[in-house]
Amino acid sequence: MLMTNLKHVESVDEHKKIMEENENVMICCGRMGPMCLPVYDIMEELEDKYKNVKFYDMDFDGPDAHVIKNAPECAGFMGLPFTMYYKNGKVVKATTSIQDMDQVTSILDEYFEKSEYQHSKVAD
């Protein structure tokens, strides 16, 4: 069970529904460990600023996490968390291990429309 303020993806069915209903989605699949917490934290912070993106986490040890773990884009990944970026249900980018704010926002800006949020603005 992930203790974050993000919405959780709990099952394959839910994953499918999210893909069908949303254009831009970021899912971080991990545990409550030191490499994963900073990514959840960044996502929580970006939720308000990237209204065009839906942010979720998924428990790496959950029964349905194979939907991410076995994705071809994650082949060769050996570092938690596995973070996926989907556009219209298709994976446009996947990263392994810890990422910082700049790395996450540059992926969001590259693959999804740039948000109104200016990176120069302070997060409240």
Binding site: M32, P34, M35, L37, P38, E45, M78, G79, A123
Partner: protein, 308 residues
């Protein structure tokens, strides 16, 4: 934005959050600005068993409680920022964030903490998450029945080696000296583990592979000879260094690059205090960081009272 804070604290690890708790409880208008995730190194810690008064906990829980306490006393906390300017030379100190917003304060507490050292060799950044790791507990299972190299010779390196040995088929510790810095207890545990081998007096010179790590280049420091070792992973535990990059041009540091303070956590600049792992001291623990943060906040409070 033009408001003047009594205290701006740079850093939201245990030192910064403790300073935040004490300063805001003393009714000082307090702002904590943090680069990165709130919690600092503590969120790297799976288990904390030596924080008095708290039975075994994890870093996430401990830091969440500290954050909650600071906020409840009225402290404002902003995280995941980029501190782009620090001007401490005037009576009113100025901190610029994300190249745009400037915050002003009568005092500043530097609670900048430390960060894990990296090797800075070819392949390290490229293979992060594809064989290069800094966390055995997080990534150990991906190396089940594989061979790995651990770089380092301190407590963390040897403790993490023993924990990794549960997964891997073979583990080679590469250490730059001919002896370990770790406590004898950790050395003994590692030496008694049949899966763990040692290459002493040696340093990694490169990490190579394709989709993931395949081999490392190792230099024997006595002979200068470079050899190759096939491996599936490289775990790096070579210690921590103080985060002083943004203050080193105007804050007095010791020869190890740590901030010099007096007993009241005062730095060389009037109205500027420092606390926690970034200061020159021998023992770096949550308890010592929390104590430093407390002293820094109370000293800042004194300083402000004397201004008025």
């Amino acid at each position: 934005m033009d408001d003047i804070y009594d205290v701006i604290i740079l850093g939201a690890g245990p030192a910064g959050l403790s300073a935040g708790i004490y300063a805001s409880r003393a009714k000082l208008k307090t702002l904590i600005l943090n680069e990165g995730t709130i919690g600092g190194q503590v969120i790297l810690t799976h288990e904390i068993a030596n924080y008095p008064g708290v039975e075994t906990t994890n870093g996430f829980q401990l830091i969440n409680t500290m954050k909650k306490q600071a906020k409840e006393f009225g402290c404002t906390i902003k995280a995941n920022l980029n501190i782009t300017g620090i001007n401490l030379s005037n009576k009113i100190k100025e901190i610029e964030v994300n190249s745009s917003d400037t915050y002003k304060a009568k005092t500043v507490i530097l609670a900048l903490g430390g960060k894990p050292r990296t090797l800075n060799i070819s392949g390290e950044e490229n293979f992060k998450g594809r064989g290069v790791s800094y966390c055995a507990t997080c990534d150990g299972e991906f190396f089940t029945d594989k061979e790995v190299v651990v770089v380092g010779g301190g407590n963390s390196a040897l403790e993490e080696s023993v924990s990794l040995a549960k997964y891997v088929s073979k583990l080679t510790v590469v250490h730059q000296f001919d002896h370990f810095q770790a406590l004898p207890y950790y050395v003994e545990m590692a030496k008694n583990n049949p899966k763990i081998n040692f290459i002493m007096n040696s340093e990694l010179r490169g990490i190579e592979g394709e989709a993931s790590v395949k081999k490392v280049k190792i230099e024997n420091l006595s002979t200068g000879q470079i050899s190759e070792l096939n491996t599936n992973g490289v775990f790096i535990f070579i210690g921590y260094s103080a985060n002083i990059d943004k203050v080193k041009d105007f804050i007095t540091l010791n020869s190890s690059g740590e901030i010099v303070v007096d007993n009241n956590m005062k730095t060389n600049i009037e109205g500027v205090f420092a606390a926690g792992d970034c200061i020159a001291k021998r023992y770096r623990q949550v308890t010592t960081a929390v104590a430093d943060g407390t002293i820094a906040a109370l000293s800042a409070s004194d300083y402000i009272m004397n201004l008025e």
